[in-house]
């Protein structure tokens, strides 16, 4: 059984009000619905025969019936609105809670989890929860109320026929239950084959150009024919199974209707009851069994809802970054002296990446970090920004341990240009000014000029107000990089980290990026994770990294004279 306490965070004080309104509305709709049936059968009871109809009583009851119908419709509406409002409010809060959580989870999680999966929590799972809540409130609340009231009235009318109805309903419920059990594995295999088909299309059709180039069309076609065939057999069966429920339920309804008609009729004759009672029973038995059908049909709904909720709760319980005891602050006027002392770090336990890393950076130095892929170049930036926490040792800025200051305070002094350019959907202006909420538009233009981005932005039809998004390819990769450089310049940080992009950018833009880098690195303590030699040559100090260790350190010329690792790396382009 589920521990309901785990879900209590979903509800607040206002929820009680919503739920109370829903309960009251459900009660009213069920009551009016059932009483209206009572009145219908009462009215039919007045139709005894030729010249034997009491019109005054009939008229009075028809009027009451009209009022009941009206109230019923009104409260059905209210119930639906309020339960949906409740569900909508709940998923809004849930979404905001989830989003808040995002900020507290270590970067590691995002670099190892596919974004599609996280997005699916924010969209599918939240929607499932919302649907489940609104649907189950309506069906469960009014269903249970209806069942209870029907039972009471039927018992009041005739016990024998009531027992008959109970028996028939139990039988119906059993049949529905069995069908749903049988269909479960079929649905699971349907999910599987749908997944296969989708991944085939996104994979193969998505990469059709590659397939053409490799001459792999016919091979992939035969794989597809196979999937398509399996798809036919599995989905056909699953569709059939799910389509069975409706006619079978209808058949069972008819069957019950019939049983009650026959046996009820016989009981009526034997016990000398009125026709009114038998027609009332016909209607009540239908009303009594209807909620059972509805509830059984929403059971899968509730199951998916809970599965989604569990995924959400798992996400909400992910370990958070510890930000307590970060009481110290970096001084306003930072000298920007940096020390790495015996720093150890590993992404995966038992697989140390960086061991006993030691180096110091003087104010206004430019440090180039070079080395083969996987040497831990970007990791150094990740540690300085505290995207990851070091395992041992310490990192000092102006002799203050960065582990003792808040991330906010730390990051307000460091600007970083990431390897993968990230721009969001919005105007270029919004993207550049994103880094500093206090900067002016003049500063923005200034930053763009330093970043060599002003000219091409001005050449765009709408200039800085050009709207960019992943859908419109207005900017080239290189231009996007220049904008992200401008954005970092606009923040005016004390310390700079530049992680050069590896993606291929045309030579002209690349020269511009180089120039921009060289301009901003002047008079600032900066790190550059370099792939290009011209950036390296301008550095005061080069750290040559291999397998997490500094194997050489010095200026360009010093390292060349050493004729070591760097010398080989540098000369490999001329051979």
């Amino acid at each position: 059984m589920r521990n309901l306490k785990n879900y209590s965070f979903l509800f607040n004080k206002k929820s009680k009000i919503y739920i109370s309104i829903c309960l009251i509305s459900a009660l009213i709709t069920s009551l009016t619905y059932i009483t209206s049936t009572l009145y219908i059968s009462k009215c039919i009871g007045y139709l005894i025969g030729k010249h034997n109809v009491n019109f005054t009583l009939l008229g009075k009851n028809l009027f009451i019936l009209f009022i009941l119908f009206l109230v019923n419709s009104l409260f059905t509406w209210v119930l639906s609105i309020i339960s949906n409002k409740f569900a909508n409010k709940l998923i809004t809060n849930l979404r905001i809670t989830l989003f808040n959580k995002l900020n507290k989870i270590p970067i590691f999680y995002f670099e190892t989890t596919s974004i599609g999966n996280i997005i699916s929590i924010f969209t599918n799972d939240i929607n499932n929860v919302g649907d489940t809540i609104s649907v189950s409130i309506i069906s469960l609340f009014s269903g249970i109320v209806t069942i209870i009231i029907c039972l009471i009235i039927m018992l009041y009318l005739n016990v024998k026929i009531t027992l008959l109805v109970l028996f028939v309903t139990a039988f119906n419920f059993l049949v529905t239950y069995i069908t749903s059990r049988i269909s479960k594995p079929i649905f699971a295999s349907q999910q599987q084959i749908i997944g296969d088909l989708t991944s085939f299309t996104s994979d193969v059709i998505g990469n059709q150009k590659l397939i053409i180039a490799l001459n792999g069309e016919s091979e992939k076609l035969s794989i597809f024919e196979n999937i398509n065939n399996n798809f036919f057999h599995t989905v056909k069966n699953a569709m059939f199974i799910s389509a069975i429920t409706n006619p079978v339920t209808r058949f069972l309804e008819n069957f019950s209707y019939l049983l009650i008609g026959i046996f009820g009729g016989i009981i009526t004759i034997n016990d000398g009851l009125s026709i009114g009672i038998i027609s009332a029973f016909l209607i009540y038995s239908a009303q009594f069994s209807k909620p059972f059908n509805e509830i059984s049909s929403i059971i899968t709904n509730i199951q998916t809802g809970f599965a989604s909720l569990d995924r959400i709760i798992y996400f909400l319980n992910l370990k958070e970054d510890n930000e307590n005891n970060k009481t110290e602050k970096l001084p306003e006027n930072l000298e920007s002296k940096i020390n790495f002392n015996n720093v150890c770090f590993s992404y995966i336990k038992d697989k140390p990446l960086i061991e006993n890393l030691n180096f110091s950076v003087n104010p206004n130095d430019t440090i180039a970090i070079v080395g083969p892929t996987g040497a831990g170049k970007t990791t150094i930036a990740n540690l300085l920004m505290r995207f990851y926490e070091i395992d041992k040792g310490n990192i000092l800025i102006d002799n203050i341990d960065i582990n003792k200051i808040s991330k906010n305070n730390l990051r307000s002094h460091i600007g970083m240009v990431l390897q993968d350019t990230w721009l969001f959907s919005g105007t270029i202006k919004e993207n550049i000014m994103y880094s500093n909420s206090k900067g002016s538009e003049e500063d923005m233009v200034k930053a763009s000029k330093i970043a060599n981005a002003h000219t091409f932005i001005s050449n765009l039809e709408k200039g800085y107000d050009t709207y960019i998004s992943t859908q419109n390819n207005i900017l080239s990769e290189g231009e996007k990089q220049l904008i992200s450089i401008a954005r970092t310049i606009f923040a005016n940080p004390d310390i700079l980290i530049l992680d050069e992009a590896t993606s291929s950018i045309d030579t002209l833009t690349e020269i511009k990026i180089q120039e921009a880098f060289n301009k901003i690195m002047k008079n600032k303590t900066s790190f550059v994770i370099a792939h290009r030699l011209s950036t390296i040559q301008n550095a005061t100090k080069i750290l040559v990294l291999n397998k997490g260790k500094i194997i050489e350190i010095g200026s360009h010329n010093e390292l060349l004279e050493k004729k070591g690792f760097y010398y080989n790396l540098y000369n490999s382009q001329f051979e």
Binding site: I44, L47, I48, K50, H51, V53, L62, L65, F66, S73, L74, T76, W77, S80, I81, K85, N88, T92, I96, F99, L102, I107, I115, T123, L197, S199, I205, G206, Q208, I211, I212, A213, L214, N215, E217, L221, F240, A243, R250, F251, N254, Y257, G265, I266, I269, I275, S279, T373, M385, F387, K407, W422, F424, S425, S435, S484, D506, T509, S534, F574
Partner: protein, 574 residues
């Protein structure tokens, strides 16, 4: 849409027709049972005739059983037919896509093609199933219920004739209103999803700029906005059921009142009134079902338009089934471009390109983005056809080759490294199935990929997940290189395929290619001068798609300013 279904209905025609007929039978039977029940109430119970009651009861049981059998038959036929037709269409599309050139593919884009293969075909499938299941049933049930009511009493049936159009109007108005509001809130949801997506992709940037509270406000506002707009949808959509049932209920009151007059006058019996109100409910239910059905059709219709666009697309390239006119005499030149020009959508991508490549020579291609480097090799492999001029391969126009023969001459490592979600082995052998395990291992070693592959669980049988997140950019490139080596075609093309590697690895792999890979010709496209400077011939392309100069590295350094500039910017020798 009808034409489309017609084309792909075979061999499911029978299922469609019989399925619809079975549904019709079920609807007829469904209409009969209330009349029999009315007989029990009207005659069986007042006359205390138990055997009559049982007799009628058994007839109802028989009818219900027949009903459920035909319903099940219909459901089965509908499932077979709609999934079958959907599968036929899907297969036809995939076959069609296989005949597409790059130009055809570019026209639609991969997103569209994927959506068509999945959601669009589902809409069509859905529409077919609903047609078979419900379209024959609903009007029949409506009309049938009215006819049956007519047999009971003509005047009381008039109440239904007023009720039906009234409900229809209410349904149509509410549906229009909600679908408009719904698409509005759908748009808001898309916006919100976009923001969350951007927050996930940019989480490092956002944290480094300390913009989280800003993003939080954005998301809160959008969420609340979405909530308000969802509530608006609910306000109207939840009105449908109470409003329509209110109309039906008023109809029932009318039936009771006017029915009472008929009973008083001796024209009708109580059981008839009960049957009439049962029919009223049946009419309501079938109308609501129709309303839901109508929703499916516009979607299916637009879907079928898109499917037709694909199926009617004329493949841009025509290949011979067998290679023609191959001159047997040995030709010194592997490749020859004669006055080749290429336009794409009115833009001149390449202008008047002329060059020859001898057997055994290495060709380098350099130029800024947009200079048509990749286009040039796409033309060579005939992914597009030239606009003017001709390309000769071993002295023969490439148009004379069959598709298979032509493509087997080339092995290309594309700029964008792609790995399919398959095992490493399946990925590597995609271009050539007939390779041994040893060959795979040596290809991996030559691409400097062996070390990280053996570290993976199951080595070559390691299953790559979609998007290949477990590999870095450089590792993906090296796997792509291995795949290129394994295709073992005479001409190996590297389209900027070493860009994510450091100079040292780059150099190492280039040496391996020189020494260990058996290819007649090598073509290298690169932004890096260092990658191409060893080539026998280097093509320098300008931004405008002109061939600026051609020659060896030394020749170009002396005679080509553009080349010299690129070289200096990268090497920066002082």
């Amino acid at each position: 849409m009808i034409q489309l279904i017609k084309n792909y209905i075979r061999p499911y025609t029978k299922n469609c027709i019989l399925g619809a007929l079975a549904k019709l039978v079920e609807a007829i039977l469904e209409l009969v049972s209330p009349i029999l029940m009315a007989k029990i109430i009207n005659f069986g119970i007042p006359n205390k005739d138990k055997s009559y009651i049982i007799q009628m009861g058994l007839s109802i049981l028989l009818i219900s059983t027949l009903g459920v059998i035909s319903a099940l038959y219909c459901q089965y036929s509908a499932s077979v037919a709609c999934v079958g037709i959907g599968g036929n269409i899907r297969l036809a599309i995939v076959k069609k896509i296989n005949t597409f050139s790059y130009k055809n593919l570019d026209k639609f884009g991969t997103n569209t093609l994927n959506n068509i293969l999945t959601s669009d075909i589902n809409y069509i499938q859905d529409a077919i199933a609903k047609c078979i299941r419900l379209l024959s049933r609903t009007p029949f049930l409506c009309i049938g219920a009215i006819i049956m009511s007519f047999t009971i009493n003509v005047q009381l049936t008039l109440i239904f004739l007023i009720m039906i159009p009234l409900i229809s109007v209410v349904l149509i108005i509410l549906m229009r209103l909600t679908s408009k509001l719904y698409s509005l809130s759908r748009k808001k949801l898309d916006e919100l999803t976009l923001i969350i997506n951007e927050n996930l992709t940019g989480i490092k940037s956002i944290r480094s700029f300390r913009k989280f509270s800003f993003e939080k406000n954005k998301v809160s506002n959008k969420s609340i906005d979405l909530e308000i707009s969802n509530n608006k949808v609910v306000f109207f959509s939840s009105l449908t059921s109470p409003l329509t049932s209110l109309i039906v209920n008023i109809g029932i009151i009318a039936v009771l009142y006017f029915g009472a007059i008929k009973v008083y006058n001796g024209h009708l019996l109580a059981g008839d009134i009960l049957a009439l109100s049962t029919y009223a409910t049946k009419i309501l239910n079938s109308l609501i079902v129709t309303a839901n059905l109508i929703n499916v059709f516009p979607k299916a219709f637009t879907a079928s338009v898109r499917v037709n666009e694909i199926l009617n697309e004329e493949p841009d390239l025509k290949f011979y089934d067998e290679t023609k006119n191959i001159k047997t005499k040995n030709n010194d030149f592997t490749i020859e471009f004669k006055n080749v020009s290429f336009n794409l959508l009115e833009n001149k991508i390449l202008k008047d390109i002329n060059f020859k490549l001898r057997k055994g020579e290495t060709l380098g291609i350099i130029g800024v983005t947009g200079s048509g480097k990749t286009t040039l090799i796409n033309l060579l492999q005939r992914f597009y056809d030239v606009t003017d001029g001709e390309i000769l391969l071993y002295g023969n126009n490439i148009k004379n080759y069959s598709k298979k023969d032509l493509r087997n001459k080339f092995s290309i490592v594309q700029q964008k490294s792609i790995l399919l979600s398959d095992t490493i082995k399946d990925n590597l052998t995609l271009g050539n199935k007939n390779v041994s395990e040893e060959e795979i291992i040596s290809a991996l070693k030559n691409a400097d990929a062996f070390d990280f592959v053996i570290e993976k669980e199951n080595n070559l049988n390691y299953k790559i997940s979609e998007g290949a997140n477990s590999f870095s950019g450089g590792q993906k490139q090296r796997l792509n290189l291995s795949r290129g080596f394994l295709k073992k075609a005479p001409i190996l093309i590297l389209d900027d395929s070493l860009s994510a590697l450091d100079y040292k690895t780059d150099k190492k792999i280039m040496n391996n290619i020189k020494n260990n890979i058996n290819n007649e010709n090598l073509i290298i496209i690169s932004q890096r001068v260092s990658s191409i400077m060893g080539a026998d011939k280097i093509l320098v392309l300008s931004e405008t798609g002109d061939l600026v100069n051609i020659g060896s590295h030394d020749y170009l350094l002396k005679n080509c300013d553009i080349y010299k500039n690129i070289f200096n910017s990268q090497i920066n020798l002082k």
